[in-house]
Subunit: 228 residues, 4 copies
DNA sequence: AATGAATGAGAATTCATTCAT
DNA sequence: GATGAATGAATTCTCATTCAT
C-alpha cells in the first residue's frame, strides 16, 4: 500500500489577505482553528457546529476565522483532507515490515481500525462528507483505495491473492467492510456503563479477518493459469 | 432472510388532533406528504430540504404538515422506516425460490442493488440518517442484518457456508460492501454524457460476487469438525 | 402634464409564499412595513437603516419582513416607486384648472416644491436611489420628465413657450433646478433655532420663477415662424 | 468667477504620528492613497468600497492607511475637497479670456461639463457626499456657487445679465441644471454598444445654452430701473 | 514609517414551528 | 381537517479599526 504523491497537498498554505507564505503566528492560528474544528465537528456534526463554536473553542476572535478559511464548508474540507493524510499514514505505518503482501493487507486494516478506534467521532466526520462535500469524500476514498489496489495487484503477482479477483472492486469492497464494521462495533458499541470501546473487539477483528482471508486467498489448484 | 415481526410498525397511524384512527382523507394526505418528503429529501438532502418545499410538492398547506408529523425529523424517520421495508421487500422478493442458500445470498444482494440502482438518491437518504437520526439508521441496518444472519446460519447448518465464519460480523461486512460498492459504482458512476447507470455494471457485480463466494464458500475438508 | 399609464404599477400585490392576491391582513402588514421603511430610510438613510429597525418601527416580527419583500433593496425600490406616484399626484393636482400652459408649469412646480417641503427627508430618499438602485431613479425621473415634456410641447404649439427650446433638455434642466433649489432652500435651510422651513421661502420661489419665465417665454418677434 | 480664498485648504498636511510636516516619502504615500481612493470610490461607490481595496490599489499596507487618514469617511471628504478644487480649476481655466460676462458663463459651464464628461464616475462620488458627509457637499456646492454669484453680479452691473434675477437663487438653479443634465446625458447615455459618450452631445449643450441665454439675457427695455 | 493579524459589532437572511381563522 | 401569516432564534459573513511588531 503506497501513498500517492501528495505533492500539491503539502504546498505551503497561503494567506488569503496578503500574497502568500503565512507567517509563523498565522500558521499557529490556522492550526488552532483546524483543531477546534475537528473537535466541534466531531462532537456536534457539521450542521450543529457553527463558526462561533469553532472560534470560541479555538480561543480566537470570530472574524479571524475568515482570515484562514473561506467558509464553514471550507474548513470542513480542509479537515477531511487532513484526516485523510493521517489515516493513510496510520495505515502505512502499520504495514511497515510485513512479511508477505497478505500480511501487509492485514496490517493495513489493523492500522485503519486503530485509527478509527482512536478517533471514532472523527471517522464520523469523514462519512458526513458525503452530504457536505461529496467531491472531498470521493477524493478521500479514492486515495485510500489506490493504495489498496496497488497492494492487491502486487500480491496477485506473487500468488498471494486470488488472481481472479478484480483489484478495484475488491478494494472498494474491503473499504466498505471496514467502514461498516467500524461503525457497528466501534461507534455504536457501548459496554454496560455506556463507555465506548477503545479498540475493536478481538473476536470481531478475527472474524473479519477470517472473512477477508477466505475472500482473498488463492483457491486451491484451479487458478494460476486459469485467468489471464 | 426472514423479516422480523414488524408488528408495531404496521399499527394504524393515528391522528394527532382528534383521538385516533385517521380518516380516509387523512390517510391520503399523509401518504402525499410522505411521498413529497421522499422526493425532496432525495433531491436536496435533509438540511437543504424544508417543510415548505415538502408541502408545496405535496400540494398541501404548510400548517397541515404538523397535523401528520411532529417535526421535520419525524417525517424523515418515518421515511427511512418506510424505505427499510421496501428494501427488505425487494431483497426477499429476489430470494424467493433460490435453489441453495448461497444462491439465495446472491439473489438477495442482487435485490439490494436493484433497489439502490432504482433509487440511488433514496439510498443516500438512508445513509444520511446517520447524522439526522442515528437510532433510526441503527434500526434500519439491524433489521437488514438480522435477515442476513439468519440466512447465513441456516446455510452454515447445511454446509453451504464456511462454518468458521461469524454470522453477525459477516452480515455487517457484507452490508458494508454492498453500501460502498453501491455508492462507488451506482451513485458516483456517470457515463460520458454524465448520465448515471440504470443498474450495477455486470462486471462489477460479478467481481463482487466472486469475492463473496470466495469468502463464504466452505474451505475444503479442514472445517466441519474444526469450529464450534 | 399627463401621467403615463401606470397600469402595471397598480396591479394587485401578490404574496411571495402562496399563489397570489394577498389577504386583507397581509395587505395591512405590507403597508405598515412600507410606512415604517419610509420613516427609517428618511431618518437614517439607506445604509444606516436596517431591516430590524424597520420591523421594529412597524411593530412586526423580523421574519415577517421577508414575507413581503425580498430584501432591503427591494423595499427601498418599492418605496421610491410609491413616492414617485405621490409626487406626480401632488404635481398634477396642483396643475388642475391652470389658465395657461405657462400657468400650469408654474403650478406644477409649486406642487413639486410643496411635496418636497412637506417631506424633505423623503426627497432625500429619492436622491439616494442614485446609489442604491440607479434604474429605479431613472424610472422616477423619466416619469416626471415625460409629464413635463408633454406640457412644454403643448405650450410651444400655442406659442406660450419659446419654440426654439428643446422640450426634453428643458424638462431635465427644470427638474435639476427644482432639485437643487429644494435641497438648498428646503433641506439645508434652518432658522435661528435650527428649525427647517415648512415651505419654500416666497422670495426664493419668486426668484426661481422669474428665471423660469425668462427661460421659457417666447422671445419677442424673432421666433414663431423661425423654428420648425 | 473667482475662487474664494482656499487658505486653510492649502495648509501643509501634517503627520498624525509625529509632530508635523510630513516627509517627502509620506507626502507620496498620501497622494497614492488619495488616488487609489479616487478610483475605488468612483468604481464602486462609498459603501462598496473598503479600506483594503484602497490600500491594495495603492500598493500599500492596510495599517498604513490610518497614518494618513482618520477614517474611511475622512479620505472620502479629502477626496471631495480635492475634486472641488479641480472642478473649479477646470471652470476658471475655461473662462479665461472670455469676451463678455455672458460669454464667460458659457465657458464656465463648458468647463464644468468638460470635467464631468471626463470623470463621470468621479462626479457621482461628489453627489454621493450628500449621504456620506453632507457638510462636505455643502462646502463643495457653496464654493462653486460663490464663484457663479460673483460672476452674475458683475454681469448684472454691466447690463449683460437681467438685473431682476437673484444671483444666489440663479446660481443654484444653474448648478442644478448642470448636475441633472450631466447625469442624464453623460452618466446615463450609452450608444448602441453600451459605450458612454466622451463629451456632452453638442445638440444637448446648445439646447441647454439657449435655455440659459434666455434666462439670463436682459429683457428688452423694461428692466434696469424696474427691480430693486 | 509601515505592516497585517486580530477583532467583534452588526447586518441580512432562513426556516421550523405555532396558532388564530 | 386545512390553512398560511407571523415569529425570532440562530447563522454566516463583512469590514472599519486597533496595535504589537
Amino acid at each position: 500500500m503506497t501513498t500517492p504523491a501528495d505533492a500539491e497537498l503539502d504546498a505551503p498554505v497561503v494567506s488569503k489577505a496578503t500574497g502568500r507564505p503565512l507567517t509563523k503566528r498565522g500558521e499557529a492560528t490556522r492550526r488552532r482553528l483546524l483543531e477546534a474544528a475537528e473537535q466541534v465537528f466531531a462532537e456536534q456534526g457539521y450542521h450543529e457546529a457553527s463558526i462561533v463554536k469553532i472560534t470560541e473553542r479555538a480561543g480566537i476572535g470570530l472574524g479571524t476565522f475568515y482570515l484562514y478559511f473561506d467558509s464553514k464548508q471550507a474548513v470542513f474540507e480542509a479537515l477531511v483532507i487532513d484526516l485523510n493524510k493521517r489515516v493513510r499514514h496510520s495505515m502505512s505505518e502499520a504495514m511497515i515490515g510485513a512479511a508477505s503482501r497478505l500480511e501487509a493487507e492485514r496490517a493495513g486494516f489493523a492500522g485503519f481500525f486503530r485509527f478509527t478506534a482512536a478517533h471514532p467521532a472523527l471517522y464520523r466526520v469523514v462519512r458526513e462528507a458525503e452530504f457536505v462535500s461529496p467531491e472531498t469524500l470521493h477524493l478521500h476514498y479514492t486515495r485510500i483505495v489506490e493504495g489498496y489496489e496497488e497492494g492487491l495487484r502486487a500480491a496477485q503477482q506473487v500468488g498471494d491473492v486470488d488472481r481472479r479477483l478484480d483489484p478495484t472492486v475488491t478494494a472498494w469492497a474491503l473499504m466498505g467492510m471496514g467502514e461498516l464494521i467500524g461503525m457497528r462495533f466501534l461507534l455504536w458499541e457501548r459496554d454496560a456503563d455506556g463507555v465506548p470501546p477503545e479498540e475493536l473487539d478481538a473476536h470481531v477483528f478475527d472474524a473479519m479477518m477470517r472473512f477477508i482471508d477466505n475472500a482473498l486467498a488463492p483457491r486451491g489448484g484451479m487458478e494460476g493459469p486459469t485467468d489471464a
